[in-house]
Subunit: 246 residues, 2 copies
């Protein structure tokens, strides 16, 4: 049975981290909220899980995955669940937990990227918190972005065998969901903050090599060239407001 991915249509957002894993693995899935309401899909099908009191274990927010009777929310938890099933996680509890740790740290970075343009409230427009966003982005470019990507670089440096690999891996020798997520984070940052991100990537060459190499995977390349890949835009998490970059 196909997995059901539930996420806002029209943006990549946090749903994209799950989508990349499903696409790279060639797993059958339905992107429910982008489907047709007349066929039982669309937004109402997604909102059912978030709003209907009959759902025993309601996700707090999307994305969430429905696999048979299981409803799994929280991006990192979804990938923890899918990783072994899609062969995008190593064997063994210790390695899987380390992979999950890396993913949770990337999730923290993604949360900070969202706060860049919404430092006061998600419920307000960017224009209503632009002054605060200018202050916040300055600190992000100077301290947080180098710290996060610097940590990813250290993880890549210390993963044995990367020196011999054309495309470095975060955990173990094979592609994992965290590699896909780091590709996505860097891709989003290059869209949102091209100047600051390029400057940081010059100091994190393994992160840059991963970002360049990961999309060459055959299935991923096909996905990225397809209409299923929603372009970055200023509704998503990674937003390009030139005034926030430098």
């Amino acid at each position: 049975m196909a997995y059901e991915l539930h996420y806002w249509p029209g943006i990549q957002g946090r749903g994209e981290f799950v989508r990349l894993a499903l696409e790279a693995a060639g797993a059958p899935y339905v992107d429910v909220a982008r489907g047709d309401e007349d066929e039982g899909a669309g937004l109402p099908a997604m909102l059912h899980y978030l709003e209907d009191a009959s759902v025993a274990r309601p996700p707090f927010a999307c994305p969430f995955l429905v696999d048979g009777r299981k409803v799994i929310g929280q991006t990192a938890a979804i990938l923890l669940y899918l990783g072994p099933r899609l062969k995008l996680a190593p064997a063994g509890e210790a390695d899987r937990l380390w992979l999950h740790q890396v993913q949770l740290t990337l999730a923290d970075l993604v949360a900070e990227v969202h706060e860049l343009h919404h430092p006061i409230a998600s419920s307000l427009y960017y224009e209503d918190q632009k002054k605060e966003a200018l202050r916040r982005s300055e600190d992000f470019r100077r301290t947080r972005l180098p710290k996060f990507l610097g940590w990813c670089e250290a993880v890549l440096q210390r993963n044995a065998g990367n020196a011999q690999r054309e495309v470095p891996r975060l955990v173990g020798a094979r592609l994992t969901y965290a590699d896909l997520s780091l590709f996505q984070v860097v891709d989003g940052l290059l869209y949102a903050l091209p100047k600051a991100t390029r400057r940081t990537l010059r100091k994190t060459p393994l992160v840059a090599a991963l970002h360049e190499g990961v999309p060459r995977q055959r299935r991923l390349a096909a996905y990225l060239a397809s209409e299923r890949r929603i372009p970055f835009n200023t509704q998503g998490i990674f937003r390009h407001y030139p005034e926030l970059d430098a």
Copy 2:
């Protein structure tokens, strides 16, 4: 062998979520950074894992747990690991994943509580971002706090059997680490934002009952009355600045 917990001394912070689990289970553990440098503990012992290039799998930040050769960062990942070992998690993959989802959602709430007093940058003092904090806290009190605690209330309502229990549980019939964490979040919120939190708790009676009942567990009660429990203060995540409450 005793678990090693590594966290900043002097504040509860995110380390407290791990500490509560270890204490409630009566597990042997060493609070490393609060120990004596002359005996190989203290801050240098913690900073080794964060800063030394010889650490193969460096945590991004504390808290982290050291169990033999394993080094596990990210609060929710630590609890995912400890849960079954401390008998603070249900049996079965689906139930454990749901418990982890609940924990990750509480972690999101904790992150937003931190942003309340640091909406611009962690590297700046509160006083240097107070104007922005006033704006952010207004939205938090009005929309985010009711949304998060309302979701916890729904989770408690829908967990079968809670109507018959004196102290409701988030997942299953027995105490889990998420119950301990929700107790801690509410306790911290009552310290930081007493007015807004009391108002919200009147609409979430099961959350209030959990917060009242959980600390009656024998080992937890002993811990909370001991000197090991660091009092809340304005260095931690939950900070009482009266101007942010209403």
